[in-house]
């Protein structure tokens, strides 16, 4: 039993430390993938793909750092293949994601920054009108019509603004 300052965590006996480490990491792998595909169904498929590919190749005596690095390298590769397949283009032409120096997550989503921090940072760098459209549409779940009403614009104009805002967000980069 490990006692922390604010709460105590009961740790149950484990059968295989490497196995348990890998399974604990899969929760982070899932979060990492979900943050990049934006939907549960694709995130689940890719997480399963990563687990089935990486876990049999792990050494039983592998440490946490190497298990993490291998799982996340496999996840990055699976994501690249996913986007290449979905878009019908070679992986080499996909935008390059810069991996964190640790090769895995520190905060659970692939870097020391959470997905919220990344999105907040990207939005903060956009012009106010772009930021407003993306906040309303994605973070508050407004429909195009509702965004148009809120911003005193037309649906057509918001649609164009959404495309331009997403292009601008991509240019800022989520992984810088």
């Amino acid at each position: 039993m490990r006692v922390t300052e604010e709460s105590r965590l009961v740790e149950f006996p484990v059968q295989s430390s490497a196995a348990d480490l890998a399974l604990e990491e899969l929760e982070f792998v899932y979060a990492f993938i979900y943050a990049r595909v934006g939907n549960r169904a694709d995130a689940e498929d890719l997480t399963q793909q990563v687990a089935l590919k990486a876990i049999p190749r792990l050494r039983a005596e592998a440490g946490a750092a190497s298990i993490r690095a291998y799982l996340f390298a496999t996840a990055r590769s699976a994501l690249n293949q996913f986007w290449a397949r979905k878009l019908g283009m070679p992986e080499e032409e996909l935008p390059v994601e810069v991996p964190s120096s640790a090769g895995g997550p520190a905060g659970g989503d692939g870097s020391s920054h959470s997905s919220v921090e990344r999105v907040t940072r990207v939005l903060a760098e956009l012009p106010p009108n772009y930021r407003r459209v993306l906040e309303l549409r994605f973070l508050r779940g407004y429909s195009l019509k509702e965004v148009a009403a809120e911003t005193g614009s037309t649906v057509g104009a918001v649609k164009v603004m959404q495309l331009r805002a997403l292009r601008a967000a991509a240019k800022v980069g989520f992984d810088v």
Binding site: A18, D20, L26, A60, S115
Partner: protein, 232 residues
């Protein structure tokens, strides 16, 4: 930069925001950066995404099925890699709530006796299927008036002892699925995502603003001085 793509992009965004799979076409490739940015933003609505219990169970079952497959030359002998698989599937079974008889012997001693889940569980109570009772330690080790965080397989819970009885409640906030933490000062379970809090009975502890739903209770038994928690 492709002109007139805004209509197609809106279709993709709408599907993403509805939680559907990405369905893309080769001609979408010209705006891949914008589409990938849309996926990032759609994901931000669930900042602390966790695998669903149903997916954990499916994953555990799939890992178990894979580990049971003969692997060529290694078949018939326990290789190091195969031994790792065994551990993975056993642990995955605990995570996913899947009974894995193949590794049953290896699990013996790791977990408390398996019992059927309670029937007729009222609303607001975590009722995992199939449930499994996890040993959370001795009652005597639980301090009074302080939350103790335990993990019963896939179920995370805080335990509160009052005399000889123990109450358990979910460790996940009822607003967004964020992990709560116990703050002894104030005796509150605090959600780090939105600075909301629950008292030791699981009730929303907001003086103003909208109250959050009460934390679901986790089933707890005290048997022969040992605390057992129903997890999956």
């Amino acid at each position: 930069m492709s002109e007139g793509f805004e209509k197609r992009l809106e279709q993709i965004v709408r599907e993403l925001l509805a939680g559907r799979r990405l369905r893309l076409r080769p001609k979408d490739a010209s705006e891949r950066e914008a589409i990938m940015a849309a996926a990032r933003l759609a994901a931000a609505r669930e900042p602390y995404a966790r695998m669903s219990p149903a997916f954990r169970r499916r994953l555990a079952a799939r890992l178990a099925a894979e580990s049971a497959r003969p692997d060529g030359a290694a078949s018939g002998s326990i290789t190091r890699r195969r031994a790792l698989w065994a551990g993975v599937t056993a642990a995955a079974g605990a995570l996913g709530g899947v009974g894995l008889t193949r590794w049953g012997d290896q699990l013996a001693g790791s977990y408390a006796e398996s019992r059927p889940a309670t029937l007729g569980v009222p609303a607001g109570v975590v009722d995992p299927h199939p449930g499994r009772w996890f040993d959370a330690g001795a009652l005597a080790d639980l301090p009074e008036g302080q939350a103790v965080r335990i993990q019963a397989g896939a179920v995370g819970a805080f335990l509160f002892r009052k005399g000889d009885t123990v109450r358990g409640m979910s460790s996940i906030c009822t607003h967004l699925p964020c992990e709560l933490s116990w703050q002894a000062k104030g005796a509150l379970l605090v959600c780090p995502c939105h600075n909301r809090a629950f008292d030791s009975s699981g009730e929303s502890a907001e003086a103003d603003g909208y109250p959050l739903p009460t934390l679901p209770q986790v089933q707890v038994l005290v048997v022969d001085g040992r605390v057992q928690v129903l997890g999956a």
